[in-house]
């Protein structure tokens, strides 16, 4: 009896609610994009990727760029795996859900772990930044050059601890390359994010660290920056720091952290073209460049075609480097 009265009450409410529906504003699908675009960042707010993604997408709503604002959604966890897995599996391929990528992180993870993403089910849109990894030690450290550190590590295998931002990030790749090139053995200490990894070096908890060039540059008076894992010196920020190649150590630019925006594979080609054109123009905006520069974040704009090639090169190289580490 009581249930019946529940039901009766309820149905009358349902009818009223459906009537009310007609009053709600209802947007019809128009030309893409007709509503804000979400960009998933696989790291937590406050990290370098999150911070840069917010900066470079700030002008999206302008008429010449994407005409609609971009909203950042953070899905952190497991060095990016949680967010990218979600994106590859659950996100809509309609151009309204995009994600920020970090190369080599996501490619390396897709090789080593059983992830739901790989370069085969993702489409790059454009690249906004490149941040090389640098080898750092505390200012009070007894090591004054990369050679000294490598020499000690060779004589004391496993005694040298090196911090970096998580598993199979650019920092980790750089250390793997260093170990492979010199034959020395290091103990990698993965931390949650680059800031933590820097803190371990500043606090003297670890022997050395690989960290972002931009962050190391900011803390340069408390650090010794020993070498840079890139093909050329960074003339703008650190003109005096040698590359590994100059020191005779075969570490190239494979660990450089490229940041950009990607979509899902099945996104309609027209949408991808529109995005690819709009985002590059947006990244090139003078205001964006100014703020990025003030924040000490190196910009490196690459078009969609360039990124496609870069992804494939990294995929080939990392498959070779990591072949012994692959987990079933």
């Amino acid at each position: 009896m009581k249930t019946l009265s529940y039901l009766r009450k309820y149905f009358s409410c349902l009818i009223l609610s459906l009537l009310g529906l007609g009053l709600l504003p209802y947007a019809l699908a128009d030309d893409y994009p007709d509503r804000p675009i979400a960009v998933t960042v696989a790291y937590s707010p406050g990290g370098a990727t999150d911070f840069q993604a917010r900066l470079v997408t700030m002008m999206a709503a302008q008429e010449d760029y994407l005409t609609q604002p971009i909203v950042i959604v953070n899905k952190p966890g497991a060095g990016g795996q949680v967010g990218w897995n979600w994106f590859a599996e659950k996100a809509d391929a309609d151009g309204y859900q995009l994600a920020a990528y970090n190369v080599p992180h996501f490619i390396a993870q897709s090789i080593v772990f059983d992830t739901k993403y790989s370069i085969d089910n993702l489409e790059p849109i454009a690249n906004w930044g490149a941040d090389p990894a640098v080898l750092i030690v505390n200012a009070d450290s007894e090591y004054n050059s990369a050679e000294e550190l490598v020499e000690f590590a060779k004589n004391n295998p496993g005694k040298v601890t090196v911090s970096g931002a998580g598993q199979f990030t650019g920092h980790h790749i750089a250390l793997l390359q260093l170990a492979q090139a010199t034959g020395a053995e290091f103990q990698y200490i993965p931390t949650k994010g680059g800031v933590k990894a820097m803190q371990r070096v500043l606090g003297g908890n670890v022997t050395a660290g690989f960290n972002n060039l931009s962050d190391s540059f900011r803390s340069k008076d408390k650090l010794k920056i020993l070498a840079i894992a890139d093909l050329e010196r960074n003339t703008e920020f650190l003109p005096d720091v040698p590359t590994f190649k100059e020191l005779g150590i075969e570490v190239d630019n494979s660990s450089v952290n490229f940041r950009g925006i990607m979509a899902k594979k099945d996104t309609p080609p027209e949408v991808i073209d529109k995005l690819a054109a709009g985002t590059v123009k947006m990244f090139e905006d003078g205001k964006v460049a100014k703020k990025m520069n003030e924040g000490g974040s190196p910009m490196h704009i690459m078009s969609r075609d360039e990124v496609v090639t870069m992804w494939q090169e990294r995929q080939a190289y990392l498959t070779e480097l990591l072949k012994d580490l692959k987990k079933e």
């Binding site: 900066l55 795996q81 772990f113 005694k159 598993q167 200490i189 800031v195 803190q199």
Partner: protein, 500 residues
Amino acid sequence: MEFIQYFPEVFTFSNLTILILGTMGGLLLGATPGLSPTMAVALLIPFTFHMQPAPALILLGAVYTATVAGGAVSAILVSIPGAPANIATMLDGFPMARGGKAMQALHYCFISSFIGGMLGVLLLVFFTPVLSNVALKFGPSELFWVAILGVTVIGSLGSGSVLKGLFAGAVGLWLSTIGYDPILGEERFVVTDHLAGGITIIPALIGLFAIPQVLGMLEVTEHQQAKMLALESQSIWQSIKYNFSRIKALTIGSIIGMVVGIIPGAGGQVAGIVAYDQTKKFSKEKDSFGKGNPDGVITAESANNAMVGPSLVPLLTLSIPGSPTAAVLLGGLLINGLFPGPDLFTIHAQVTWTFIDSLIVAQVVMLIFGLTISRYCRFVTRIPQYYMAAAVTVLAVFGTYSVQNSMSDVFVMMTIGTLMYLASKIGFSPAPVVLGLILGPIAESNLIEGKLIAQSGDGFVAYFMSGGINLTLIALCLLSIGYSLVTELIRVKKSRENTI
């Protein structure tokens, strides 16, 4: 006294307008479920894009200050803590509101926030050079012990038995391990796809506190409801007088807040709870905590806001953020060309001091604005329980979804909430579970990191159990456990005597 000369900078018309709007907006954002202070500041960073450095930082500082207090408003009035920091505020604030003392609870909340916040900022102003290197003393082993110290607090947090409290805390710790492990990237306990992202704190927080409250409201009969709605009013002056008479709660809260703020990574999330626990332990009326004791609100809010200033010390000097929100604030500093370090107080002194001064002014604006809106809380408390329950349900779903646009989070929130409702009927409380969820990842990642470092050095025991800070922390842990056990024994003995 350098900071005084930059005050006029804050009081220009446009800067003051930004500060007032930022404070009011921050209170609103902070009161929105699911929108933590961290998210609120992150959302505002693009906003500051078109501004000059000084007003941009004033806006961020005002919002940071106000969202922390805003979370307390929703905790007190609708039992949804805006951020983990506000859990402790809710433990006594919501019972006070249910008992017709919503206005008093809000008054104490804003007054204590103000006092704690001011002390915190003053610590920042005067002791930054002295304190700047403290943050670096906390490596993996120290942070591990800090987390364990937090865990030992768990047992005495609940209102019932210490054993049940500890068990609930352990459940929280265990729940935090669901998902990928922090170092090896291994999947753990992912029984459904919805758990792949793990149990994130804000959804869990909303579920554990709001859902049992919703179901509790629906249980209430009409008769009981009439009794609860009588709202006592109290003048602001009376509140201020009373607030200052609770000097012990205020002092404990402010000191613990400041200490926790300086330790990076421990997160201001636990400042309120630790302060609450200590105040309870030092109180003569332990049983009244959790049932609407004003001391609970006073100590928790003074701790939450006392943490804001000190958490900026390692940020401004070493670019190491003391809390997740400070981490986002770092971005705000960077885009305005302010690189943390010595330059901040020399070359950029003007902008830096204007920013710090704006934190002080924001505290004042928040106090005035908060006390003014407190009287309108009757509009919320007068809402009938069935409307309230329906609104909180929908808000919980919206808030949870908006954290990371995830329906899985909403399912997790609802499931955890319903289970918590059932568990509350057999004497478990949600606070230890949340504390376990917060501390779990801190304890685990520092344990594993420390283990890796220890393996290539002197070994596990030597690494974790040497050094002044480690030993002090271990001693504090033992003290805390010992205290809990003794009080539990006394409690059992008493209840036995009563039954005989």
